[in-house]
């Protein structure tokens, strides 16, 4: 049958020695192992060291016992009220965000409403517009005396009572709901688009009405997505600083995040222990939310299969009603983007606040004035650019290695450790990271407080999971066979990475970079805790200018800030996005 070579005789000892020698040589030859080990250690330091200090600060610092912490918390002025307001704001924001976004997602994904492409873009605008700028614009619009809406209303009706007052819990809820509805839109629209129409057909054939089909088929199928969206809204509503800071704080309304800022960190002397306890509370709430999500998603995966056979969902023909849906989309656009930007443009170019916006009343003086008003403006723009460009780049390099290990490593332990570590920051929202870093880097051995580094570390830590998710998603699409095919053709490991893997995941890495860049540019809820004079970012500068009440300068800087962000994204897309063909 076959000729068989006699086995080569070697003693077991020398064989195993040779084996270990070979393994050791491989370890030394493979530089990727050093990269992996280095990144793992760096990640552990980045995340676990501040976390240790956060918990240490909460529960064990100094002589402080648990009883003493409770006593301190009790003595804090207005804490129960702030907790109540936080719950109230979240309870209001959640349904409002869904009420804004669900119709819009349905309109964009499942109806024949005209201008759908445009609608889709406008629905993403609040995502691109930082909440900070939305909050500033809405304070300019809805302030009880000077607010644009009230000024116009007074002129039209002659009443002196304000029509709207944005500095209320209702105002905070309205603006939060408006800006967080983007998250709902993105998540739900994706599911609605992928949903196989045969599920609905089956329901109709079984004799169910449209209403019953929506209730018994469409909603249950989109439930995991609805839950994910809800959790994103919940987490962001807790951690957001800009909206409750600008619209709530002047009226004495605090959420936990703004409470930590006003009553613990910028209080003199700072109450770092209290800050740590409250930050831990936020972290626990966030962690519980994500755990629930993970549980539900794991359980529902079996029927989340929305079918991948490329069947397009059917679009509902609306007839004349499609102009009603178009009007809805237009109103959404008007309130989230149109009106806020109009008032910013007005503020930026009007000679005096309150004048009619006619040509004679316009001026460029505000633009020049903004730069002369304070050195913080220029410095802030510089710092923001350094932090966002540098931070997104460093984080992208990290996520490339982390993603590669998570998806491709054959050492499951290592992949698991990377996955776990890089997921932790999801539960650390802005104020949590900020308080943890304050504790960790205000003292030796790492005295980074008072430098830009502490902001950079905060940004990289906070947005790392975003990048990891984008990169792992695109890595998972590249099957091992594609890399194996390169090896068979004679490509070394490096050549295979360069010629096959990297080009295929480049769009993912780029998307991750852009997401992290834009997030870092607008970051406020950690920066506001961590900046020191000289290290302000643009977001901090905007907040300070707003506090000083110089509306024209705030408007100019806000517009400039958005313009710069968009221009950089376009340049990066141009430079690195070419050749990223949609080949999947």
């Amino acid at each position: 049958m076959t000729t068989i070579q006699p086995p080569i005789s070697t003693s077991p000892l020398s064989a195993s020695l040779a084996f270990f020698a070979r393994r050791a040589r491989l370890l030394l030859q493979d530089p990727s192992l050093f990269a992996t080990g280095g990144v793992l250690l760096f990640l552990a330091w980045l995340i676990l060291y501040p976390l240790f200090w956060l918990f240490y600060g909460s529960f064990a610092y100094g002589e402080q016992g648990l009883g003493e912490i409770v006593a301190q918390l009790r003595a804090l002025p207005g804490l129960p009220r702030a907790l109540y307001d936080t719950a109230f704001v979240i309870a209001g924001t959640l349904p409002l965000a869904f009420a804004f976004a669900l119709p819009l997602a349905w309109i964009a994904a499942r109806t024949d409403t005209p201008l759908r492409g445009l609608i889709e873009m406008t629905a993403l605008m609040p995502f691109i517009t930082p909440p900070l700028i939305g909050a500033i614009a809405w304070s300019l619009l809805g302030a009880p005396r000077t607010g644009f809406i009230n000024v116009v209303a007074r002129a039209l009706t002659g009443t002196s009572a304000p029509v709207v007052d944005i500095y209320t819990r209702g105002g905070v809820i309205f603006v939060l709901g408006l800006y967080l509805s983007s998250y709902v839109f993105i998540t739900v629209k994706a599911v609605m688009e992928r949903m196989d129409a045969s599920f609905e057909d089956a329901s109709f054939i079984a004799g169910a009405s449209l209403f019953r089909t929506i209730r018994r088929v469409i909603i249950p199928l989109s439930l995991p997505a609805l839950l994910s969206a809800g959790i994103l809204v919940f987490v962001n509503a807790i951690e957001d600083f800009a909206i409750p800071g600008i619209l709530g704080a002047p009226g004495g309304i605090f959420t936990i995040t703004t409470y930590i800022y006003y009553h613990a960190i910028s209080y003199l002397p700072p109450r770092y222990g209290v800050a740590a306890v409250l930050a831990t509370l936020i972290m626990m709430l966030t962690a519980v939310a994500f755990l629930i999500q993970a549980r539900v998603l794991a359980g529902e995966r079996s029927f989340t299969t929305v079918g991948g056979r490329g069947r397009r969902p059917r679009r509902l023909r609306l007839g004349r009603w499609r102009y009603v849906t178009l009007l809805y989309a237009f109103l959404y656009f008007f309130f989230t983007v149109g009106l806020p930007y109009l008032v910013l443009i007005y503020g930026a170019f009007i000679k005096t606040w309150g004048l009619m916006p006619i040509f004679a009343n316009l001026t460029w003086a505000n633009v020049a004035g903004t730069f002369e008003a304070s050195p913080v403006v220029v410095r802030g723009l510089g710092n923001s650019l350094i932090l966002a460009l540098g931070g997104a780049t460093v984080a992208s390099l990290l996520t490339a290695v982390i993603g590669y290990v998570i998806v491709k490593s054959k050492t499951r332990m290592l992949a698991g450790a990377m996955d776990f570590l890089s997921t932790i920051p999801l539960t650390m929202s802005g104020p949590v990271i900020a308080v943890a870093l304050l504790w960790a880097y205000i003292q030796p051995p790492f005295m980074l407080y008072g430098t830009l580094w502490i902001l950079g570390i905060a940004y990289v830590t906070r947005y790392l999971p975003y990048g990891v998710r984008t990169v792992t998603a695109s890595l998972r699409q590249v099957s091992d066979e594609l890399e194996n095919a390169a090896a068979i053709c004679g490509a070394s490991r490096f050549a295979g990475f360069r010629d096959v893997l990297f080009p295929l995941v480049r769009p993912g890495i780029l998307a991750g970079w852009m997401l992290m860049f834009i997030s870092m540019m607008r970051e406020l809820s950690a920066s506001i805790f961590l900046f020191t004079p000289g290290n302000e970012t643009t977001a901090v500068a905007l907040f300070n200018l707003w506090e000083e009440g110089i509306f024209s300068y705030v408007s100019v800087l806000a517009l400039l800030f958005v313009a710069i962000s968009i221009i950089i994204l376009l340049i990066v897309q141009r430079l690195f996005g070419s050749g990223a063909r949609d080949a999947f």
């Binding site: 084996f19 194996n484 068979i488 053709c489 490509a491």
Partner: protein, 372 residues
């Protein structure tokens, strides 16, 4: 053009032993299939040859050159083994054109541009896709992608060609067409080729020789004819083609022929048997469906014929397929070409061709027989 020799290979994943004691030689210039049910270890064997996995022990030789031998610390990486491979998913690089895909192996070998271009052209000519150089893989049909994958593996004239179930993603019609095409191309270039498949029909049409693997072990190596006519055991008999397996005892065996008695029956039958089956050993009689002849009782004559009754009948155009009951409790599947269709319930004379019947002792490792 070297042969590929596996010597006592073993590979386990945790506690699961995927491949053990695999020793076989893939002859140079021949197309040899590795055939087995899914999960039998055939893909692992191919991965060991390709270098995507390292054996726990044992050695792999290309010609006289050892390319994997953990005992001596030899593990040539896949990119230095000079292989061509056609993957199950085709594994065409979606960001490269057809031409760039095919040229990649040549580029890695630092072949000059002019030579590269002509080699790419030649490879695409072989698979009849010359005019598709500028296209992207996603613009091609499944069958065309398959051909590009084939051209990519051929372009740089590797020493050995590996196929990992390359046709399993194609529809039945295309699959049959590609079988003949692969066979024809192989005949022309005469490269040492190893073809992994779970489809016995595919292995039969394509291969010079077939290696049958089951549960990580080699069951038999031979030409398609040898496997079909002289299966080494119950597994091979039932996996290659259809067969009837009946418990039986070998009364006497000599020179590859024997006399058996089926359990619970008094009649004796002549059949093939393996040389090493000892007299009075117990085993199975494997009778191929086309090795049984049925005739209306009235027309029959001859010695070795038995009376039986038709239970079911299926008309397949070129064949009639019957299920017959023989001696009450023995049921046989029979295929008969042409002739008049026999009616269900009819009594017929049953005659067994000794050349199509084979006495098998149970498989060496003792896997339970599975009927196909």
């Amino acid at each position: 053009m070297p042969s590929v020799r596996l010597n006592g290979l073993r590979k386990s994943f945790g506690r699961l032993v995927a491949v053990q004691d695999v020793s076989v030689e893939f002859e140079e210039g021949a197309l040899t299939s590795v055939l087995g049910p899914s999960g039998c270890g055939k893909t692992t064997t191919l991965n060991l040859i390709a270098g995507f996995a390292e054996p726990d022990c044992g050695a792999i030789y290309f010609g006289d050159r050892a390319i994997a031998d953990p005992a001596r610390g030899i593990a040539v990486p896949p990119n230095r083994r000079n292989l061509g491979m056609v993957f199950q998913s085709y594994a065409l690089w979606p960001h490269l054109t057809v031409g760039e895909n095919v040229a990649y192996g040549l580029k890695m070998r630092r072949i000059s541009r002019a030579e590269r271009d002509s080699a790419v052209k030649e490879a695409l000519r072989i698979v009849q896709l010359e005019s598709y150089v500028e296209r992207y893989p996603h613009e091609l049909s499944g069958g065309q992608q398959q051909r590009v994958a084939f051209a990519r593996a051929l372009a740089y004239s590797p020493a050995i060609l590996l196929f990992d179930e390359p046709l399993s993603n194609l529809d039945a019609h295309l699959r049959e067409e590609m079988r003949f095409e692969i066979k024809e191309i192989h005949r022309r270039i005469g490269i040492t080729a190893i073809y992994v498949t779970h489809d016995q029909a595919e292995a039969m049409t394509l291969s010079d020789r077939i290696v049958v693997i089951e549960a990580g072990r080699i069951r038999q190596v031979g030409t398609p004819r040898e496997l079909y006519e002289q299966p080494a055991g119950v597994f091979v008999a039932s996996f290659i083609g259809k067969t009837n397996l009946l418990p039986a005892q070998l009364l006497e065996g000599r020179d590859g022929w024997g006399v058996v008695r089926l359990d619970g029956q008094s009649d004796v039958l002549r059949c093939r048997c393996s040389v090493d089956a000892s007299d009075n050993s117990r085993g199975y009689l494997s009778i191929r469906p086309e090795g049984i002849r049925l005739q209306p009782l009235a027309e029959s004559s001859g010695e070795e014929r038995f009376t039986s009754r038709i239970c079911a009948s299926t008309y397949l155009g070129n064949l009639n397929e019957y299920r017959v009951a023989w001696n009450m409790d023995t049921v046989l599947d029979v295929q008969q070409a042409g002739g008049e269709e026999l009616k269900v319930g009819e009594l017929v004379a049953l005659e067994i061709d000794p050349k199509r019947a084979c006495f098998l002792i149970e498989d060496p490792v003792g896997t339970p027989p599975s009927m196909s």
